[in-house]
Symmetry: D3
Subunit: 186 residues, 6 copies
Amino acid sequence: MLLNTQFVETPLTYNGQQLQAHWIYKTWGIKGNALVAFIGPADVALESMVDQEDVLKKAPIYSPKMVHFIGEWFIDSLNEGILLQHLFTSELYESLWEAGVTGLSKRGNDIYHQGRKASVSIATRSGVSVLMHTAVNVETEGTPIPTSGLSQMGVEPVAFAKALLERFRCQSEVWASARVKVSPRL
Amino acid sequence: MLLNTQFVETPLTYNGQQLQAHWIYKTWGIKGNALVAFIGPADVALESMVDQEDVLKKAPIYSPKMVHFIGEWFIDSLNEGILLQHLFTSELYESLWEAGVTGLSKRGNDIYHQGRKASVSIATRSGVSVLMHTAVNVETEGTPIPTSGLSQMGVEPVAFAKALLERFRCQSEVWASARVKVSPRL
Amino acid sequence: MLLNTQFVETPLTYNGQQLQAHWIYKTWGIKGNALVAFIGPADVALESMVDQEDVLKKAPIYSPKMVHFIGEWFIDSLNEGILLQHLFTSELYESLWEAGVTGLSKRGNDIYHQGRKASVSIATRSGVSVLMHTAVNVETEGTPIPTSGLSQMGVEPVAFAKALLERFRCQSEVWASARVKVSPRL
Amino acid sequence: MLLNTQFVETPLTYNGQQLQAHWIYKTWGIKGNALVAFIGPADVALESMVDQEDVLKKAPIYSPKMVHFIGEWFIDSLNEGILLQHLFTSELYESLWEAGVTGLSKRGNDIYHQGRKASVSIATRSGVSVLMHTAVNVETEGTPIPTSGLSQMGVEPVAFAKALLERFRCQSEVWASARVKVSPRL
Amino acid sequence: MLLNTQFVETPLTYNGQQLQAHWIYKTWGIKGNALVAFIGPADVALESMVDQEDVLKKAPIYSPKMVHFIGEWFIDSLNEGILLQHLFTSELYESLWEAGVTGLSKRGNDIYHQGRKASVSIATRSGVSVLMHTAVNVETEGTPIPTSGLSQMGVEPVAFAKALLERFRCQSEVWASARVKVSPRL
Amino acid sequence: MLLNTQFVETPLTYNGQQLQAHWIYKTWGIKGNALVAFIGPADVALESMVDQEDVLKKAPIYSPKMVHFIGEWFIDSLNEGILLQHLFTSELYESLWEAGVTGLSKRGNDIYHQGRKASVSIATRSGVSVLMHTAVNVETEGTPIPTSGLSQMGVEPVAFAKALLERFRCQSEVWASARVKVSPRL
């Protein structure tokens, strides 16, 4: 469960095309399990969305500025991928608490600040891997629903993203280590 | 990933024997994936421990009073079980933040309060299931290392345990739901 | 292995497009593992068939009126999906016996009545789920091979379909329960 | 999913010890996935039972004469094993219908004749395989609950067992074949 | 892990289209796990390649004459498929040593003769199976990098291919047999 | 599939007790997937053997001096473990060829030198891992069947073992890398 991480300085719009097998490898040259972060708008048309619930509700994703995290794990189990996605959301949420932000809450994998939605998250499978996109708002002007973001929370996005990448990489090592140290039970 | 939960009013000492396949079913009559909580001492001799790292370090577990959580999921994958364990630790940690406790930190699956260890957690496999024990101190007198607990945090253990059981049950439903709503990617 | 079932009153032609991930959810709003039944013709062109054996034999599927069952289970294992498909065919076959029909036989997953083929069945994988189509003839006029159907058997299709949905839902609960009650062996 | 089958002429008491990894191989020299049948009493003490539900109910198994089927599949998935167990029960049940027996019904994996229980069935895992025991009464004198058997049904046990072994072997080939002929869906 | 093998006498160009689910079945009528060999050029354009490393390096595959091996296993695990691919490469490599060829070496899954590359190999997943293409040069005129082949090694390709098919089929039986004869350990 | 390797200088008798979960970790402090080598006699009584075929044949293992390799991979799939075992045997076999030894042959996972057995190999599962023991004779005095060893081949055992550990570690990285670079096929 070794994980390679990288913060990409170039601003980039997330439009759903980044949630593809080997996008990280083909774009940034990082091979293997990987988690990259970048900053930019989110603008995902209905036809590029994998969340069929949102497609049914006709709820496209828009935000003027988010910190985006794209993860790819080369495993076969979507169940495991879903759990990794939610572990990432938890680490993100906990990082905000530890940064001193108040008025936070979490429902499922959605993070709220002062009752307004601050994040989006999805995980799915490709034919060779499990893919995740999780993002937290920086700015919120023009979002289709009431939202909050790192600006309102007083959190600087670049340092936050870098620290979260490192935190999740360390936690991934802990999970791998937890796997190998336990004896079985009857 | 349906999960049955129950708070057991009877005080009980955790001595490692509770981490067995069907302990929950045979003791409390709850069938299927289950998470139960009870309050009592922790007293685990080296020969009853599954954490081989602690066995090598000769670090038995003792606490005069903890809230214990025993989980059993009838799945084949230990990897998935390890991730569920860490999701539970995250929900526990977040519950403390949301309760207004300060001075919290987390390293791997260990929760600290004011720099002192507040929790223990382990997950392993039986031949038919994945098993978890996670516990947070209530009192800390006589523990072998510096520890903190819910008393020091000002958190009432029974209400805390009941709320956490319900929170984790709801999150389990969210994860199950996340599994079924996404279309695949190429 | 919880299963949601529904009998759809609207007549519908099965043309192979119904064997798609989330077709049940997007068409009928049923989320999760699901089994739906409807009545209508079967008309599957070669290019919409998943059975490569039939494609090689150039054997398209046609029937003027069938009871169709579409199942989707959000699991990763095609082996498990194939076994679920055959369990469904068995329950269908047994329902006919219990209804007093005579002259029945079964070869693989094909049900025969008085030596004439009465059913079709296939299971495959999408990127996120296992999919099944099983159908039993009601009328048989114009079928490319000698067939029999519920009309010839004297079985009323709507009541039959509803009872079979409920029967399979109950059996699914039994299988889930069988998984969680057994202790392992050496 | 190749399956080796054998009818063992020697009478044998089933006492639970037969449900062990490699019992078939070590006793009858049959290597690999295997299904063997033999005739004899069933006498399983509580401490040899794997069904924890029956253990809790203190319901040991006794029958003066049954046709026993022991199956072992060298697969890792208990879910798949449970489904194979229920497919076997279905084939057994259908064989009785096809033999002309009337008054049959099935609940879960239990077969009833004229409202009286005629069979037992369990599946579990060893460390290297999935194991099944399914048996149908021949005689019923002295059973702890009202039961029926092949004698009451007018079915000759040896021929019945041999035909069922062959039937299940053929069906196993069909399932293996179903796995390899389907193209995937999106 | 039963494997059907066949040497196809007709010369054929490998252009990447042969690495598709059911190509063996639809082209040669061989159903199930299969390994076929044929002789002909390799000419794979970048857009038909599955190796993203080679795509990034813009390294298309060309050889005037190779012995090609296409394998398809109907399993769900890509990890297992990758290991099967490397076992095949090992058997190929060992066959050359046993044939008396000298100056051989192996790096990863690439075989070298007198320091020049003699083989290519790739494995991937379809939605229902794991697919492999492995090939060894016969002639080497016009290859984009320094290569060697069976001609330079003095190995007759048809007999070599037939013997390797049979060798791998036998080894597959040994692996299946190794799976079923071992008792588990604590 | 990261692998930690170590050559243990202390001579040690292999008696079957080394094939246990966490034996490497508890004895040599190496955590995670690991492969260790040591030199010493092999003396495995029937009751400590996992190969049920040898147990049936009453064929205990004895050799006065072997190079032993014990591997442990923390994976759930025994199938994958069996393939890793055979990949190790292949690398061992190829190392001998590359060292200039002649008169070698391989049947299944047994290596022969001048028609005499030179190696033993077994893989099985614990509740948390897959375990392997593979060993090649150094001396052969007193073995129950005709054998050959590294002495007869003119191969120095310590350097051979160290090179093979490193070779297999490198190959493990190649397999991990092969898993992550391929795009899926339809």
